[in-house]
C-alpha cells in the first residue's frame, strides 16, 4: 500500500509541527525551577490534566494496536476499556490519589521510598526508567517503519525528525509543554479518526449491518456467528471465543491485575494527575479522563471491526493487506485512511496518527527525566545540588532520554522481537507492583523488606509461570516454555499473559504479607501518616458542587461502564 500526499497534506503536517513547537517556545518563559519543569508547578486545572492523562496513554500502540485487535478479536477488545481501564481509573482517583498527591512524594518511586525503603524505590526507579526509554524507542521505530512503508519516507530521517520535535517542546516547556501538547494531540486524534469511523459505519450499514457482516467472520473462524460482536456471551469457555480466554482469567488477569497495575502505579499517567493545582483536581483527573476513555472503543476498536467486515464481504473494494498466511492487522488504520480519506483529509488523518506516536513518546520521556533526576541522580549521585543544577540535569536528561530512545529504536529495528520482550518485562514488573502498592497503602504493617522481597519473588513467579507455559502453536523460547517441557498450553498469547499476571500478583501479595509478618516495621506511625489509609484523615470535599465530587463522578462513570457491558453483552 502506498499513499500519495498532496501539497495540502504536507501543509497540515507542517502547521501541526509549528504549533507543537510553538507551545514549547511560549511555555519556555514559565519554567523557572524544577517544580515547573517536572511537576508543572502543580498548577493545572483538572480537565487539562485529564486530557493529558489519556493523551499520554493514547500512544500509537493504542490507536494502531486496538484497531488491529478489533479486527482480530472483535468487540471483546473493549474489555481493555470496560473491564480494564475504567474501574482502575476510578479506583486510583478515589483511593490512591490522596496518598500520591497528599504525600511529599514527587514521583511514584519516591512514594515507595517514603512508605517502604530505599531499595524498593531503587528497584522501581531503575526498572521504570529502562521501560520508558524502551517504550519511547519502540514508538519511534514503529512510526518510522510505518511512514517508510506507506509514504516511502526515509527511515533514519523519520527517527531524527520525531526525536527532535519531541525534544524541542519538552526541553523548553517541560511537563506543562508535554501536557499541553497531549491535550492538542487528544483533540487531533479524536477529530482525525472520528470521520473514519462515521464513514465506515455508514458503508457497512450501521451497527446492524456490521453485526450481520461479521457473522460469517465468526463462523469461518469456527465460533458462534456473534463471536465478533458479543463481549461476554462467549467467555464461558476459552475455546468459544477468538481471544481464547474465559471470564475468570479476563476479569482477574486483565480487569484486576494488569489494568490496576498499569493505571494505579505507572508514573507516566500518575505524573499527569500530580500536576493538578489541588487535591480535588488531582482526584478528579482520572475520573474526568475516564469519561472519554469509556467511549474510545468507538474510535479505536470499531475501525478494526469495520475493516474486517468490509474485507470479508469484499464490499466497496476494501482490502486488508496480507502478511504471510494471515492478514496484516497492523495495517488496519492506514488501509482505512487510504480508503476513506482523499488528499486533504489524508493529511489530517496522518497528522493525527503522528500525534499519537508523539504523545506516547513525550509521555515516556517526561516520566523518564523526572524519575532519573529525582529518584536516581538526586538520590544516588548528587544529593546537595541547587535547584538550578537539577533543572539543568533535567534538561540534559531529556536530551539523553531522546538519544537513548533513538538507540532503542535502532535496537528494535535489529531485533524484531523487542516488542515481545518489552511486553514481557512489563507484565513481569507491573503486575506484582500493584500488590505492593495495595498492601503499602492499606496495610500499615507491610514492611520495607516485605515489599522488596515480595516484589522480587512476584517477578520471579511471573518468570517461572512464563517459562513453564506456552501459547498454542508457539515454540519454546521468547513466547514461553524455556524452563523445559511446558506444563500448560494456553489457547492464546493473551490468555498466557493474563495468567502470568495473576500468578505474579498473587505471589507478590502473599509473600509481602508473610515476609512483613516476620520482619520488623522500621517506620514509625508518624512517618507513615499521609502514606497509609488508616493513618490519613479522609479527604472531605465539602463545599464542592456534586458534579465535582470524586465519589459522585466515580459512581456515575462506573454505572455507565456497567451499562455498556450489559448492552454489548
Amino acid at each position: 500500500m502506498h499513499l500519495q500526499l498532496g501539497a495540502i497534506d504536507y501543509a497540515i503536517l507542517l502547521i501541526y509541527f509549528a504549533f507543537v513547537i510553538g507551545i514549547g517556545v511560549v511555555l519556555r518563559r514559565t519554567v523557572s525551577g524544577t517544580k515547573d519543569f517536572f511537576e508543572s508547578g502543580r498548577s493545572l486545572p483538572a480537565w487539562i490534566c485529564a486530557l493529558g492523562f489519556i493523551g499520554a496513554n493514547l500512544g500509537a500502540q493504542e490507536v494502531m494496536g486496538m484497531a488491529a485487535s478489533g479486527a482480530k478479536y472483535g468487540i471483546m477488545t473493549s474489555h481493555f476499556y470496560w473491564v480494564g481501564a475504567i474501574p482502575a481509573m476510578v479506583f486510583v482517583a478515589i483511593f490512591m490519589m490522596p496518598f500520591y498527591y497528599g504525600s511529599k512524594a514527587r514521583s511514584v518511586p519516591e512514594y515507595l521510598k517514603l512508605r517502604f525503603d530505599e531499595k524498593t524505590r531503587g528497584f522501581n526507579a531503575m526498572t521504570f526508567a529502562g521501560m520508558t526509554v524502551m517504550s519511547s524507542g519502540i514508538s519511534m521505530y514503529a512510526l518510522a517503519k510505518l511512514l517508510n512503508a506507506i509514504l516511502g519516507w526515509n527511515f533514519h530521517l523519520c527517527i531524527v525528525m520525531s526525536g527532535v520535535i519531541v525534544l524541542a517542546y519538552i526541553f523548553m516547556g517541560g511537563l506543562t509543554s508535554a501536557i499541553y501538547n497531549e491535550v492538542l494531540q487528544f483533540f487531533l486524534i479524536v477529530l482525525g479518526f472520528l470521520p473514519l469511523v462515521m464513514m465506515g459505519l455508514k458503508q457497512v450499514g450501521g451497527w446492524e449491518g456490521l453485526v450481520a457482516k461479521l457473522q460469517p467472520v465468526g463462523t469461518q473462524a469456527g465460533f458462534a456467528p456473534t463471536a465478533w460482536t458479543d463481549s461476554w456471551a462467549h467467555t464461558g469457555s476459552a475455546q468459544a471465543n477468538p481471544m481464547g480466554i474465559e471470564w475468570f482469567g479476563l476479569a482477574m488477569g486483565l480487569g484486576f491485575v494488569l489494568s490496576f497495575g498499569y493505571w494505579c502505579t505507572d508514573f507516566l499517567v500518575i505524573q499527569r494527575a500530580m500536576a493538578a493545582k489541588d487535591m480535588g483536581s488531582a482526584r478528579r483527573t482520572p475520573i474526568i479522563a475516564a469519561i472519554p476513555k469509556m467511549l474510545f472503543p468507538v474510535l479505536v476498536i470499531l475501525p478494526g471491526m469495520i475493516a474486517i467486515a468490509l474485507h470479508n464481504s469484499a464490499q466497496g473494494g476494501f482490502n486488508l493487506p496480507a502478511k504471510g498466511n494471515s492478514l496484516d492487522y497492523d495495517m488496519v488504520v492506514p488501509a482505512m485512511l487510504s480508503h476513506y480519506f482523499p488528499t486533504g483529509m489524508l493529511g489530517l488523518g496522518l497528522t493525527a496518527l503522528m500525534a499519537s506516536f508523539m504523545s506516547g513518546m513525550a509521555g515516556n520521556v517526561t516520566a523518564f527525566n523526572t524519575v532519573w533526576t529525582y529518584d536516581i541522580y538526586q538520590s544516588y549521585i548528587k544529593r546537595d545540588g541547587t535547584d538550578a543544577h537539577y533543572l539543568a540535569v533535567g534538561r540534559a536528561t531529556t536530551v539523553f532520554g531522546i538519544l537513548a530512545s533513538m538507540g532503542a529504536a535502532y535496537a528494535a529495528a535489529q531485533f524484531n522481537n523487542i516488542m515481545d520482550i518489552l511486553q514481557l518485562v512489563f507484565a513481569f514488573v507491573n503486575a506484582p507492583l500493584f500488590a505492593t502498592f495495595l498492601l503499602g497503602m492499606f496495610w500499615r504493617r507491610a514492611t520495607g523488606h516485605g515489599a522488596f522481597f515480595g516484589l522480587v519473588l512476584g517477578t520471579l513467579a511471573a518468570a517461572i509461570h512464563h517459562g513453564l507455559s506456552l501459547p498454542k502453536g508457539a515454540v519454546a523460547g521468547l513466547k514461553g516454555g524455556w524452563l523445559g517441557n511446558a506444563l500448560h498450553t494456553y489457547p492464546s498469547e493473551m490468555a498466557q499473559n493474563f495468567w502470568t499476571a495473576i500468578y505474579a500478583w498473587t505471589a507478590c501479595f502473599v509473600m509481602t504479607i508473610v515476609i512483613s509478618l516476620v520482619t520488623r516495621q522500621l517506620k514509625s506511625t508518624d512517618e507513615l501518616r499521609g502514606l497509609v489509609y488508616s493513618l490519613t484523615p479522609r479527604a472531605h470535599e465539602t463545599g464542592l458542587v456534586w458534579w465535582k465530587q470524586p465519589a459522585v463522578l466515580g459512581t456515575i462513570v462506573l454505572g455507565t461502564t456497567l451499562l455498556l457491558n450489559v448492552v454489548f453483552w
Binding site: I8, I12, F19, F187, P195, Y340, P342, G344, M345
Partner: protein, 67 residues
Amino acid sequence: MHLDVRLPIGLMFSIFGTLLAAHGALADRRVWEQHPLRININLYWGLVLLVFGIAMLLLVVRGRRKG
C-alpha cells in the same frame, strides 16, 4: 504568565478547517464523486473543524473576560 491551552487548539483547528473546507469547495466534482460514499468529505469535515476551532477561541475570549 500561563498560556491558555485552548488558544493554540482553537487557532490550529480554525486553520485546518479553513484549509480543508476551501480545498473541498474548490475541488472538481469528479474528484470527490470517486469517494466510496460519494461525499465531499474535505468540505464537510473542514467546516466541522472550523466550528470547533472557533468555539475554542470563543472560550478563550470568555476566559479572559472572567479572569
